[in-house]
C-alpha cells in the first residue's frame, strides 16, 4: 500500500499541490483524474523520486520513504512510465532496459547474454515481436512505449505509475497493454493510471481520485460512475465571472485561415494539422480548446510561420493572402504570438524588462541608428503601466519577476509591435489565481481596442471565461464550434476527446 500524506509542492511561489492525501491500495488500478495543470504529473513525479523536495510524507507499506532520485524509488519498487519517452534512440532495446542496472560478471564486464535473454522474456510477455537488439530509433512510437513498460517490469516493481501510456499507441497495442495491466493487478501490484481518454478509465480502473487545482476533491470506486459524472468532477470549478457585458466586435474578418495542413517529420504519424479553417473578426476573442496532442500549439506555430516547410494552406490578413515564412514576416503582417512556454520561447530571462519589451520593435527606440535609452525606458514604462506589470524598475532582470508579471512582459513585447492579431498559447500556465484573473481582464480590454485575439488553452474554465466563440480541436482537426452561449464543459470535452479508442 502506497500512501501520500498531505503532500505539498510549490514552483517559484506558485502552489502546484496543496495537502494532497491519497491511498493507493495493492491489486487495484487507481485512476488519477484532472485537467491539465491540476497537479497530476507533479504528484507522480514526487511519488517516483523525480522531485525530491516536497512537504508531507510518503508511506510505503506503513513506513515513511523519501527518495532523492528516481533510482532510489525504483529500488524500493516504485516505477514510473513517463508521458514523454525516456529512451536513448541509438541504443538497443536490451541496452535501454538495463541502462544504469547492467548485469555484470565478476570483472565488471557486461554480461550481454543474460541481459539479452531477460529482455527476450520481457518482450515475449508483452507480446512485442522484435529482436532485443533492435535500436530504439527503428521502433514505432507504440513499440517504444512497450519498451518503457518493459523497463518498469524488469525491476519487479510493486507500484507502477503510468502517465498517459496510450497517448501514442495503436488500438491493438492498447489491448495488449490492458491485458498486461490486468495481469499485473492480479499479481497484487499497485497500478496508478493517468489518462485523458475516459473510455479507458471505465475499462481498466477500479478506483478514481480527482485532482483539481492541486487538491484532492473526491475519490471513490469507479463502479456506478458514468461518463458525465466524471467530466463534472474534473471541471467543477467556476472561474470568477468576468464582466462580459456589452461585448461587441466588428464584422470585418481580420484573419482567415483556409485548409491549413501541417506535416511534421516525426515518424510518419498522422498529420499534425488536417485542413484547419476558421476566421477571426476584429475585436473578437476566439477560444481554441484541445487536449494534449490535439494540434493547438502547432496551429499557432503554423500561422506564425515557424514551419514553412511542412505547412500548406492559405492565411489571409484583412482579406489579403500573406505568405508567412518566418515569425519576422508574421510580425510585419501584424500577427504576434505569446508562446506557451514563456521561459523557453518568450523571454530572454537574463536581460532586463525594458530590453525584453523592446525586442520585437527595436526600430521604435532607435534615434539616427543608435539605441536611445530614454525612448526605451519610456516604451517600457508605457507598458508596465498599461498592463500593470509589477517590477521595481524597467532595469530589473526578467528572471526575478513572478510568473504572472513575466507573462505580462511577453504580452507587452507583442503589443509594442502594434499587432492586428494577438495569439496567446496557454496564457495562464503556471501562474496563480489572481494573476490569472488579471490576464483575463487584460485580454477582454485588449479586444475592445479592436485587436483580434486567439486564446488557445487546455483549461476549460479559462476558455469558457474569455471566449466569444470556441473551436474544439482533436487529432489535428477542428471537431466542433460553439458560440459563447452554446458552449459548456460537457459538449466541449466530448468534442475534444479523441475517438481512436
Amino acid at each position: 500500500m502506497l500512501v501520500a500524506e498531505k503532500i505539498g509542492k510549490r514552483f517559484a511561489g506558485v502552489v502546484a499541490l496543496n495537502e494532497v492525501s491519497m491511498e493507493l491500495p495493492p491489486a487495484k488500478v487507481t485512476a488519477i483524474i484532472g485537467e491539465n495543470g491540476a497537479g497530476k504529473s507533479t504528484l507522480m513525479k514526487i511519488l517516483s523520486g523525480v522531485y525530491p523536495e516536497y512537504e508531507g510524507r510518503i508511506l510505503l507499506d506503513g513506513k515513511e520513504v523519501r527518495f532523492s532520485n528516481p533510482k532510489e524509488a525504483q529500488e524500493k519498487g516504485i516505477a514510473i512510465i513517463h508521458q514523454e519517452l525516456n529512451l536513448i534512440p541509438d541504443l538497443s532495446i536490451t541496452e535501454n532496459i538495463f541502462l544504469g542496472r547492467e548485469i555484470t560478471n565478476g570483472w565488471d564486464m557486461l554480461d550481454k547474454k543474460s541481459m539479452r535473454q531477460k529482455t527476450q522474456e520481457l518482450l515475449n510477455r508483452l507480446k512485442l515481436e522484435v529482436s532485443p537488439d533492435t535500436l530504439i530509433r527503428d521502433l514505432k512510437v507504440g513499440q517504444q512505449q512497450v519498451v518503457e513498460i518493459a523497463k518498469a517490469l524488469l525491476t519487479d516493481s510493486q507500484v507502477i505509475i503510468m502517465d498517459e501510456p496510450t497517448s501514442a499507441i495503436s488500438d491493438h497495442e492498447v489491448e495488449v497493454l490492458f491485458s498486461i495491466i490486468e495481469n499485473l493487478r492480479n499479481d497484487g501490484k499497485t497500478i496508478v493510471y493517468i489518462s485523458h481518454k475516459l473510455d479507458e478509465l471505465f475499462r481498466i480502473a477500479d478506483r478514481y481520485v480527482v485532482l483539481r487545482d492541486g487538491q484532492v476533491t473526491e475519490s471513490g470506486s469507479m463502479e456506478g460512475v458514468n461518463h458525465d459524472a466524471i467530466i463534472k468532477k474534473m471541471v467543477g470549478r467556476e472561474i470568477k465571472a468576468l464582466d462580459r457585458e456589452q461585448r461587441k466586435f466588428g464584422e470585418r474578418e481580420i484573419l482567415q485561415v483556409q485548409n491549413l495542413c501541417l506535416e511534421l517529420n516525426n515518424g510518419g504519424r498522422q498529420k499534425a494539422l488536417d485542413k484547419v479553417s476558421f476566421s477571426l473578426r476584429q475585436g473578437e476573442i476566439l477560444g481554441i480548446f484541445g487536449l494534449m496532442g490535439a494540434g493547438r500549439t502547432e496551429l499557432l506555430e503554423c500561422i506564425l510561420g515557424i514551419h514553412p516547410a511542412g505547412c500548406s494552406g492559405n492565411i489571409l490578413v484583412n482579406g489579403e493572402v500573406v505568405k508567412l515564412r518566418s515569425p519576422q514576416e508574421a510580425i510585419k503582417s501584424g500577427i504576434v504570438l505569446v508562446p506557451e512556454d514563456r521561459k523557453k520561447d518568450g523571454l530572454v530571462l537574463g536581460l532586463d524588462v525594458k530590453t525584453n519589451i523592446s525586442l520585437s520593435t527595436i526600430r521604435r527606440i532607435l534615434q539616427s541608428g543608435f539605441l536611445n535609452r530614454n525612448r526605451e525606458t519610456k516604451l517600457a514604462e508605457e507598458y508596465t503601466q498599461s498592463l500593470r506589470i509589477k517590477t521595481p524598475s524597467p532595469n530589473q532582470q526578467v528572471k526575478n519577476l513572478s510568473g504572472g508579471n513575466q507573462q505580462k512582459v511577453v504580452l507587452a513585447r507583442c503589443l509594442a509591435t502594434n499587432p492586428k492579431v494577438l495569439m496567446l498559447d496557454e496564457p495562464t500556465r503556471g501562474i496563480d489565481a489572481n494573476a490569472k484573473n488579471e490576464i483575463y481582464k487584460l485580454i477582454l480590454e485588449l479586444s475592445q481596442s479592436g485587436l483580434g485575439i486567439i486564446v488557445v488553452s487546455s483549461e476549460l474554465p479559462e476558455i469558457l471565461a474569455v471566449s466569444d466563440r470556441i473551436l474544439v480541436m482533436s487529432e489535428g482537426k477542428i471537431t466542433a464550434e460553439f458560440s459563447a452561449e452554446e458552449a459548456n464543459e460537457d459538449n466541449i470535452l466530448k468534442a475534444a476527446i479523441p475517438k481512436t479508442i
Binding site: 510580425i331 504570438l337 508562446p339 520561447d345 530572454v348 530571462l349 536581460l351 527595436i362 541608428g369 543608435f370
Partner: protein, 324 residues
C-alpha cells in the same frame, strides 16, 4: 541586501582586482616590469589579441565559437603581403595589377571578411555547429595560406607598411591606436545598436529571439564576418610588425582569444559578457606572459601557468553566478 550588493560589486571588479594584484606582485618581483618601455611593450604585444578577442566576444555572445581566427589571420596577412610585394600577374593577357598600400590592406581585410562570411553562411544555412564549421575553416584557411605562400615567408615589405606595426602616432604606438579604435567601435556596437541588442538576445535565448521576429541567420552571419575582418586586421598588424608574412603565423591564436573572452567573464553558453571584460582578460594574459618572461620562467612553465589561470577564472566565475 548590502552584503549581496557588496558581493556583486566585488565580482564585477574581480578581473580588475586580479590584474592589479598581478601588476603589484610583478613590480615587486622584477624591477624591469614597472617601466614605461615595458608598458608600451606589453600593450603592443596584446593589441593583436585584443582585436581578435573582440571579434571572438561577439561570436561567443551569440553562443557560438570561432576556431578559425588564427588561420584567417595568417591567410589575410599573407594575401596583403603578397599583393603588396608581387601584385597580380594575369597570365595570357600580360596584365599586371599593382597594389597601393591601402589597396593591399583592404584586400587583406576583404579576405578575412569573406572567410568569416563563409563561416556564418555554413553555420546558418546548413545548421553546421559553429565548432565544426570554424574547425573546418581553420584547416582550409591554413591550407590556402600554404598554397599562396608556397610555404615560404613573404618578407621585406617596406617602411610604409611597417609603420602599422612599428610606428608611433602622437606618442602612442600605432598598434595600440588600432586596438583602441576597435574597442571603441565594439563598445558602440554592443551598447548602442540594434545589432548588439540582437547579439545578446540570441545568445540569451535563441528560440525567444526567433519568435520575437529577429532574423537570427542575418545576425550570425554579420557576427562571423566581423570576427573574420578583425582576424584579418590582426594578420596585417602581425605581418607589419615582423615585416614578414609567415605561413604558420597565428597558430593557436584562437586559444588566446578564447582565453581572454573567458577570463573576461563572458559565458561560453552565450548572452552574458562585455567587451571591456574581454579587454581586461587580454591584458591579464599579456601581463602574465610578459611577467613570466621577465622572471625568466621557462616557456614550458608559462603555458602551464596560463592554463591554470584560465581554469581559476572560470571556477571563480561559476561560483559568482551561483551565488547570484
Amino acid at each position: 541586501m548590502s552584503i549581496s550588493k557588496y558581493r556583486a560589486t566585488l565580482s564585477r571588479f574581480q578581473s580588475s582586482i586580479a590584474l592589479f594584484v598581478l601588476c603589484l606582485a610583478l613590480s615587486i618581483l622584477s624591477d624591469k616590469f614597472l617601466t614605461v618601455d615595458n608598458g608600451w611593450n606589453v600593450l603592443r604585444q596584446i593589441s593583436v589579441n585584443v582585436c581578435i578577442s573582440v571579434g571572438m566576444t561577439l561570436v561567443v555572445l551569440t553562443a557560438g565559437i570561432d576556431l578559425s581566427v588564427g588561420s584567417v589571420l595568417a591567410l589575410s596577412g599573407a594575401v596583403a603581403a603578397g599583393l603588396l610585394k608581387n601584385g597580380i600577374e594575369l597570365p595570357g593577357n600580360d596584365l599586371f595589377i599593382g597594389f597601393t598600400l591601402l589597396g593591399t590592406i583592404v584586400a587583406g581585410l576583404l579576405t578575412g571578411g569573406f572567410l568569416g562570411f563563409f563561416n556564418g553562411a555554413v553555420i546558418t544555412k546548413f545548421k553546421v555547429p559553429p565548432f565544426v564549421a570554424t574547425l573546418a575553416m581553420l584547416t582550409i584557411a591554413r591550407g590556402l595560406t600554404m598554397l599562396w605562400t608556397k610555404g615560404y615567408p613573404i618578407s621585406s615589405l617596406g617602411p610604409s607598411f611597417g609603420y602599422i606595426g612599428t610606428g608611433w602616432f602622437l606618442g602612442i604606438p600605432v598598434l595600440v591606436w588600432i586596438a583602441a579604435v576597435i574597442i571603441a567601435v565594439a563598445l558602440v556596437i554592443t551598447n548602442k545598436t540594434s545589432l548588439g541588442r540582437y547579439i545578446y538576445a540570441i545568445g540569451g535565448n535563441e528560440n525567444a529571439s526567433r519568435l520575437s521576429g529577429i532574423n537570427i541567420g542575418k545576425v550570425k552571419v554579420i557576427v562571423y564576418t566581423i570576427s573574420g575582418v578583425l582576424a584579418a586586421l590582426g594578420g596585417i598588424m602581425v605581418t607589419s610588425r615582423l615585416d614578414s608574412a609567415q605561413p604558420n603565423a597565428g597558430i593557436s591564436y584562437e586559444l588566446d582569444a578564447i582565453a581572454a573572452v573567458v577570463i573576461g567573464g563572458t559565458s561560453l553558453s552565450g548572452g552574458r559578457g562585455t567587451i571591456m571584460g574581454t579587454v581586461l582578460g587580454a591584458v591579464i594574459i599579456g601581463v602574465l606572459n610578459n611577467g613570466l618572461v621577465l622572471l625568466d620562467v621557462s616557456p614550458f612553465w608559462q603555458q602551464v601557468v596560463k592554463g591554470f589561470v584560465i581554469l581559476l577564472a572560470v571556477i571563480i566565475d561559476k561560483a559568482n553566478s551561483k551565488a547570484e
